[in-house]
């Protein structure tokens, strides 16, 4: 008698969903890998996160349609990459010394790439949470002109 194992597995996917997943991978795989590599620099670990991301991406019928799929992939890639980092990763903010000019970039880096919460950034940089959000807005606005 073999070993009894308890496992949690996602629901089976239809052939249509598999095709859709592969289409999304062809289109956004490089983008997701770029995000993951920025957060998890080890290629093997980053590749494991990428595989997990696309194998579990919710593309079922009736999935949340309020968000564009590229935004969903960006959000999930970031979240999974941050979760895969070792727990001992020190999020030292002491090396980030923002000036008025580079504040939006510093705040965005801390929030997006380093996984710091808005209130945490506000406390560490000694600024208001609204200023943190404004800085993020300013930096995201600069995407279009970059």
């Amino acid at each position: 008698m073999g070993t009894i194992a308890r496992a949690v597995v996602p629901l089976p996917r239809s052939e249509g969903e598999k095709g859709r997943l592969m289409e999304l991978y062809e289109r956004y795989g490089s983008m997701a890998y770029g995000i993951i590599l920025q957060i998890v620099p080890q290629p093997e670990q980053a590749q494991a996160v990428l595989v997990d991301l696309f194998a579990t991406l919710p593309v079922e019928e009736g999935a949340d349609k309020t968000e564009r799929v590229s935004a969903l992939i960006i959000r999930l890639a970031r979240r999974k990459a941050l979760a895969s980092r070792p727990g001992s990763v020190e999020r030292s903010l002491t090396s980030f010394q923002p000036t008025e000019r580079n504040l939006p970039k510093v705040v965005f880096n801390l929030a997006f790439w380093h996984g710091c919460h808005v209130t945490e950034i506000a406390e560490r940089l000694n600024i208001a949470t609204t200023d943190v959000l404004r800085a993020i807005r300013a930096y995201v606005k600069s995407f279009t002109v970059a």
């Binding site: 194992a5 496992a7 597995v9 996602p10």
Partner: protein, 173 residues
């Protein structure tokens, strides 16, 4: 973050929401706001477009073999096995029986298989091919040795027929 609705647009909540920087609670608040304010969808779409362009510029092509790894993982996820119920009967683990909204299903697996590293596959193929080569070589040399032995025996016989043993001189004693 207790926020008045107009602040969502003016103070960067949309950007924080889209980049996933907000907490789950704030995310739920934002979704509620978006469902009640369809006019904000235009701004949302613009931000999504610029975000996609921004991250696309930083794209890094993954290794080609990852495509197969993803397919393998998807197919692997589909393995669902029978599990014994409390009354002893067996029934297929129903995916949504316990929680219809969950995308996961709890299964118990009576596992008789093992997982090995992917490098074992070429190693097994190489060992199998080598065993065939040695088998063929062994048979070849076995039959060759047999035929050589027969040939040698024939030559000995021919030799004995062609060269009769010279007669010994009679004993003169």
């Amino acid at each position: 973050m207790a926020t008045k609705p107009y602040q969502y647009l003016e103070e960067g909540f949309l950007e924080a929401y889209l980049t996933g920087i907000v907490s789950e609670q704030e995310r739920a608040e934002m979704k509620q706001y978006l469902s009640e304010n369809p006019e904000s969808q235009t701004e949302l779409n613009e931000i999504e477009t610029s975000m996609e362009q921004f991250f696309m510029r930083r794209a890094v092509p993954p290794p080609p073999e990852l495509r197969d790894a993803i397919m393998d993982r998807i197919n692997q996820n589909e393995i669902q096995k029978w599990r014994p119920e409390a009354d002893g009967s067996k029934a297929r683990a129903s995916a949504k029986a316990t929680n219809p909204e969950s995308q996961y299903v709890h299964v118990e697996v009576d596992d008789t298989h093992i997982r090995v590293h992917k490098y074992w596959r070429p190693a097994f193929i190489a060992v199998f091919a080598l065993s065939k080569v040695f088998l063929i070589a062994g048979l070849y040399y076995y039959f060759k040795a047999g035929s050589i032995e027969r040939e040698l025996e024939q030559l000995r016989q021919q030799n004995s027929v062609q060269q009769p043993i010279p007669a010994r001189p009679l004993n003169t004693r």
